[in-house]
């Protein structure tokens, strides 16, 4: 046994798969211990906030500032005006502002901004300009005015009775704060999803549920498959025919269709993690049965089995001591594949809205489903779906890699 395990870990493929899987597994265990927020809490008030650290604007405004000798106004202008903006400004100035092309230097943002402020008027007739563009110029004008403002931002307190404003602080453009001083902040490494939930925390929690579903479904499917396969293979005759008849029935009907039908008829409220795992497990056993059966058939006429039979051992004992050990490695490999396909099945089910309930658990498929419903893939909100895809890929990749590694160790035909 020890030797076998040693051999298994010598296989490069198995090792890589195992390490990837182990890292995911450890993350799933330790991340929730460190980050204790509810993975389903709707933190962000809006759709798909981009990854980053969000600091409290109120605290930042009230924090004691540091003065830095940085020419902030030109930096602000540079940041506010892109090359496209500048050329759009040039076009407007020539066409509607009555400025000569020779007077415009597109490369100098400062001068452009001054020229713009001198000539731009949103109320002037702009024939031939589409509404979207007019609105764009209004926004651009606001941006330039804000960037050029040198008086600073005034913070005022409102008198509760009279409603009069009294100035309490002015934020100058040379005022900076150290982000480390801000205590009120929240980091979303992978942004938020369409409900405003923290994607990373949700992703880990979803991976846990997916692994649970995968393991339970894999266990159930392997158990059923193994039991029926052993029975059919060892007994032969009528039991074999009957079991194979049923198995063939299930093989012919695509299991995903059965999966959909059962999940649909169970109804939303009953579909928890366990139920989904059970349904997946109950629909994916046929191929395990078939392959276990064929392995058993090749084993049952071997000499040691016949000897056991002659010795009058019971059927159970023969199966457990003379047959099972020979196919154990195969069964483990089959189970790994079942786990992997269980995770994929869950993702597929949740994608079409037949998975567990959104408010009760996070699953990988549900995350994909909502990202798609709110068209994250069209809006460039990659953080809402890409990490999920990667996670699903990594899990099934690592499991399959482990399976191939095991195969190489146990299958004499594949040994180098």
């Amino acid at each position: 046994m020890k030797n076998t395990i040693k051999q298994v870990f010598h296989s490069g493929k198995f090792l890589v798969g195992f390490i990837i899987f182990f890292i995911i597994f450890l993350t799933c265990i330790f991340y929730p211990l460190i980050v204790r927020t509810d993975p389903l809490a709707m933190v962000g008030n809006g759709n798909f906030f981009a990854p980053g650290t969000y600091i409290s604007q109120e605290e930042a405004a009230t924090e004691e500032p540091y003065s830095l000798n940085v020419d902030a106004s030109s930096a602000k202008l540079q940041a506010a005006l892109s090359v496209d903006d500048l050329s759009a400004m040039q076009q407007w100035l020539i066409k509607y502002g009555g400025v000569k092309e020779s007077d415009i230097d597109v490369t100098d943002a400062q001068k452009m901004a001054e020229l713009w402020q001198a000539h731009y008027d949103s109320t002037v007739a702009q024939p031939g300009l589409i509404a979207a563009k007019k609105k764009y110029y209004v926004r651009l004008d606001k941006k330039i005015t804000a960037a050029l403002k040198d008086s600073g931002v005034i913070i005022a307190d409102k008198d509760a009775d009279t409603g009069a404003l009294t100035e309490s602080k002015t934020i100058k453009e040379t005022d900076f704060i150290n982000t480390g001083d801000i205590s009120n902040k929240r980091t979303f490494i992978l942004g938020t999803d369409n409900f405003g939930r923290d994607v990373l925390t949700e992703l880990i929690s979803a991976t846990v549920s997916s692994l649970k579903i995968g393991f339970i479904a894999g266990l159930i499917a392997t158990a059923i498959g193994l039991f029926l396969g052993l029975l059919a293979g060892y007994l032969g005759g009528f039991p074999d025919n009957l079991i194979m008849f049923i198995t063939n029935l299930f093989t012919v009907i695509p299991s995903f269709v059965i999966l959909i039908l059962i999940s649909y008829s169970v109804g939303n409220s009953a579909r928890g993690i366990m139920m989904v795992a059970l349904i997946i497990g109950l629909t994916s056993w046929p191929w395990t049965t078939r392959s276990v059966r064929s392995q058993v058939i090749s084993l049952r006429n071997r000499d040691h089995v016949n000897l056991s039979k002659l010795s009058g051992h019971s059927m159970m004992r023969i199966i457990f001591t003379d047959i099972l050990p020979y196919i154990a490695s195969y069964v483990v490999m089959a189970m790994i594949l079942q786990i992997s396909s269980g995770i994929l099945s869950e993702a597929q089910l949740s994608m079409i809205g037949l998975g567990p309930a959104t408010t009760k658990t996070a699953t990988l498929g549900l995350m994909m489903n909502w990202a798609m419903q709110y068209s994250a893939h069209l809006n460039g909100s990659w953080w809402a779906y890409f990490p999920v895809v990667i996670m699903i890929a990594l899990i099934s990749f690592s499991l399959n890699l482990m399976n191939t590694g095991l195969d190489q160790v146990f299958n004499p035909q594949l040994r180098d």
Partner: protein, 634 residues
């Protein structure tokens, strides 16, 4: 040796897959760009069977594309209205899916068929279309006279007469179309006084007063006028069989509108301008609408429509788009909406969650109110609606929608004490605790009489903003110890559940702005009349009953004193907020309106002073936009 063949095989396989994928991509685009289909077919030659079917379909689509294609700069493209092959052009049909032609709502789509008046939700006014001048009531409000525009003509050149209006109404009633069954409760008959004068006689109650004059006016901007002669042809070819008449596809229709059917298939529906349209008369528009064709490509889903909009293949898009502002703020596309900032559109509707007041637990006002209080509306508006709704802080809950004209009819200060703030979980918990509704068996869910409070909140599958809103309702339930699970069946199953009261919590949209609103919205929320209907499409799906509310609802249609109206609506709002038979989850635009100015420009904008509503250039007075459109490159 074996290894080598394996490697060779895998390389072959991969190249075969790549080639077939490329071929697949090529032929799928060939539907839209005919020129690429040839090259795609030749690439597909790699795999025999796929190639033959592909090239066959490509050839077929090339043929139809050539025959049907309309010049881009003469065609206005739509998205988000038509989702399947058009089945008929019949305004009396019960199951017409023809969204581009038939839409008899508060602001009817008047591209092909026309109504007597056009409604403008911006100021609540009606403008004459087939009619001219305002409708006039007689002194005791039992008869309404409408004058037809003498210039109005059918597409076959004959005059639109009062007889046509009469015959249309009579047909609706005779063949029991949904319009007919609804309005025959309020309109006794339509008479043709002379060729251009129509008299609507209201149904009278036992006191000799009109049952509901509001519903009579409501008919005018909503129901299409059909030609008597054509209707008679249809009746004749269907042997006067009511069911057959209602199912007649009417592809050879005679209508009065500026467009006529041109092409419809499983790819698109196209309407062509009728250059003899009567509206060129100076008494109406004085000109023809600008686009020669109106086209709607049938997209697979919202996402496909959104991509087409972003690429400039669609001009007017009636779809809910997540973070719509990103299209112009981040992607710099020539796309805009009615308003530049949130809520972006003209919100008139109130998608509302109804409690089934006949279910144990939900018959308890405290439970209903607690759920309504715990819901995080700000979250619904910011995430489920993507900011495309004003908040309940700005327009507090009442019978009224978020239009200033409607808000003027309610006294918000009187309702202040009844309002609840968004996501008030603690308040809701306290309410339940005080009422003795507690969790006694420690499973985290409260009970009444030992029974867990456990409910299903349902709405149709795939209506993403509604689905998300109900998820947030479910989350609220979790926070206060009431188990709410969401349930999203297919639309048809949902309709059965909703209309027959087979639900715990369901969701439906209130009527928007119209001639008969806010009255019909108050009916929708509160009317006991709807409570016992066997099949209820009208409102109050939860079977709530309140005699006081009913009295007010009956009095309002005949009330003309604005102060009294305001008082009544405020009282109704009080009942709504006290008894919570239903609660609005958000405000929503009557129609989403996002336009791309790649080809066409001069669409209605909120600040252009033209008073044209953002009704997708097709509905009610929104159609006025079609007459002002301009090409960008001209």
């Amino acid at each position: 040796m074996k290894r080598r063949t394996e490697k060779l095989m895998s390389i072959l396989m991969i190249s075969a897959i790549t080639v077939s994928m490329m071929a697949g991509c090529g032929s799928s685009t060939s539907g839209t760009t005919a020129s690429s289909s040839d090259s795609a077919a030749s690439t597909a030659g790699a795999s025999e069977t796929a190639a033959s079917t592909d090239s066959a379909s490509a050839a077929a689509s090339t043929d139809t594309a050539d025959a049907d294609s309309t010049p881009r700069n003469e065609t206005l493209y739509f998205a988000g209205q038509q989702w399947g092959t058009v089945n008929d052009y019949n305004p009396m049909s019960a199951n017409s899916n023809n969204a581009m032609v038939i839409n008899q709502t508060d602001y009817a789509r008047v591209l092909v068929y026309e109504t007597l008046y056009m409604f403008n939700p911006l100021d609540g006014s009606m403008k004459g279309l087939l009619a001219t001048g305002d409708p006039e009531w007689n002194a005791d409000k039992t008869e309404m006279t409408v004058k037809l525009n003498p210039d109005a003509k059918w597409s076959d050149g004959t005059q639109v007469t009062a007889d046509d209006v009469k015959y249309t109404f009579d047909s609706h009633v005779k063949y029991q179309s949904s319009t007919g069954t609804d309005y025959s409760n309020y309109i006794d008959s339509v008479e043709a006084k002379d060729a251009t004068t129509v008299v609507f006689k209201a149904k009278l109650d036992d006191k000799g007063k009109a049952v509901n004059p509001l519903k009579v006016s409501d008919y005018l901007p909503k129901v299409y006028v059909m030609q008597k002669a054509y209707l008679q042809t249809v009746e004749k070819r269907n042997n006067n069989d009511a069911d057959k008449i209602k199912q007649d596809p009417m592809k050879d229709l005679v209508a009065s509108g500026p467009y006529k059917p041109y092409v419809d298939n499983d790819q698109k529906i196209v309407l062509q301008r009728d250059d003899n349209y009567w509206g060129q008369a100076s008494s109406m528009w004085g000109k023809l609408p600008v686009p020669k064709y109106i086209a709607h490509v049938i997209y697979k889903d919202n996402a496909a429509g959104q991509v087409a909009l972003q690429q400039g293949e669609v001009d007017v898009c009636q779809e809910f788009l997540t973070d719509v502002q990103d299209m112009w703020e981040k992607d710099n596309l020539p796309i805009s909406t009615w308003l530049d900032d949130a809520p972006y559109g003209l919100c008139t509707l109130m998608p509302t969650a109804f409690f089934n007041t006949k279910k144990a637990g939900l018959d308890n006002v405290t439970v209903r109110k607690a759920i309504a209080m715990a819901v995080d509306y700000d979250q619904i508006i910011a995430s489920a609606m993507s900011g495309q709704s004003p908040t309940f802080d700005k327009y507090p809950r009442s019978i009224m929608g978020p239009l200033d004209s409607e808000q003027a009819l309610v006294d918000q200060s009187a309702l202040k004490d009844l309002q609840w703030k968004s996501g008030d979980v603690e308040g809701a918990k306290k309410l339940l605790d005080d009422a003795g509704i507690k969790d006694t068996d420690g499973d985290g869910i409260r009970e009444i009489d030992g029974k867990n409070l456990s409910y299903k909140a349902e709405c149709p599958n795939g209506w993403s903003d509604w689905n998300a809103a109900l998820e947030i309702v479910a989350a609220a339930g979790k926070n206060i110890g009431i188990d709410i699970t969401t349930y999203f069946p297919e639309a048809s199953t949902y309709y059965d559940d909703m209309t027959t009261g087979n639900f715990d919590i369901c969701m439906w949209s209130s009527p928007g702005a119209s001639v008969s609103n806010p009255w019909s919205r108050a009916m929708f929320f509160l009317s006991s009349k709807y409570a016992d209907l066997k099949v209820n499409w009208s409102g109050n799906f939860g079977g709530y009953k309140n005699a006081d509310a009913e009295k007010l609802l009956e009095a309002i249609p005949n009330e003309t004193d604005q102060a009294k109206l305001k008082e009544d609506y405020t009282d109704l709002s009080k009942i709504l907020l006290t008894d919570v038979p239903c609660f609005a989850l958000m405000y929503r635009p009557g129609e989403f309106y996002t336009v791309n100015e790649s080809v066409w420009t001069n669409y209605p904008q909120s600040d252009d002073g033209r008073n044209i509503p953002p009704m997708d250039c097709t509905d009610g007075y929104g159609i006025a936009a079609l007459y002002d459109l301009q090409l960008v490159n001209q």
